[in-house]
């Protein structure tokens, strides 16, 4: 008897609907989030960035 194998989906197998939303183009991103960028800049200061 042939064994039925159910293929499990992995992280990158899922299909998705990507909608480009023009409303998001009008958002001032700097106003939306700035606190974390400041923290990231602090974290990255002096770090050697891999090529």
């Amino acid at each position: 008897m042939k064994k039925k194998v159910k293929k499990k989906k992995s992280l990158f197998d899922y299909k998705f609907n990507l909608i480009i939303d023009k409303r998001l183009d009008k958002i001032d991103i700097n106003n939306m989030a700035s606190e974390k960028v400041a923290q990231a800049n602090k974290d990255l200061k002096g770090m050697k960035i891999p090529k």
Partner: protein
């Protein structure tokens, strides 16, 4: 990894912002993923949180919507889409709290094999000026992702 993802993603045309709805026991909560330029050339900071009524990203909110893994998988999906469009850009991220940074480390550890197929994952550790390759149980302060 067999997590579900939120498959309906909205994006800005330059992919700098992604939006999706978390659906769970506490209702529908609008979530945002952003890729913000840093002062370091080609390094972009990944930011994630709830989008509040003023349109601001709230990094510290706790939704308790019982969909943590689904959300993490959706963030990975957004990174995948973003780095397909911008393969030379590096993505830096850290948790808004130490606990969240630890959660991200654990999630990467569990899915490292699968993630490594597409991404090189490096870690910023305390007081080190070099990023080091990701290892399980490494004390991470932040993460740097590069598409292979």
């Amino acid at each position: 990894m067999e997590y579900e993802v939120y498959s309906d993603l909205k994006a800005r045309s330059d992919y700098q912002i992604f939006e999706f709805k978390s659906i769970g026991k506490n209702g529908n909560i609008l979530k945002g993923i952003m890729f913000m330029p840093t002062k370091v050339q080609m390094v972009y900071n990944l930011e994630f949180g709830d989008i509040d009524k003023n349109g601001k990203l709230n990094y510290y909110s706790i939704s308790n919507n019982d969909d943590r893994d689904k959300i993490l998988a959706t963030i990975v999906k957004a990174i995948d889409i973003y780095t397909i469009k911008y393969p030379d850009r590096l993505i830096y991220f850290s948790g808004s709290t130490k606990e969240r940074t630890r959660l991200y480390r654990m999630a990467i550890s569990v899915n490292f094999e699968k993630l490594s197929e597409k991404f090189e994952i490096m870690v910023k550790t305390e007081n080190e000026l070099d990023f080091t390759p990701f290892k399980k149980n490494i004390q991470a302060k932040g993460f740097l992702i590069k598409r292979k």
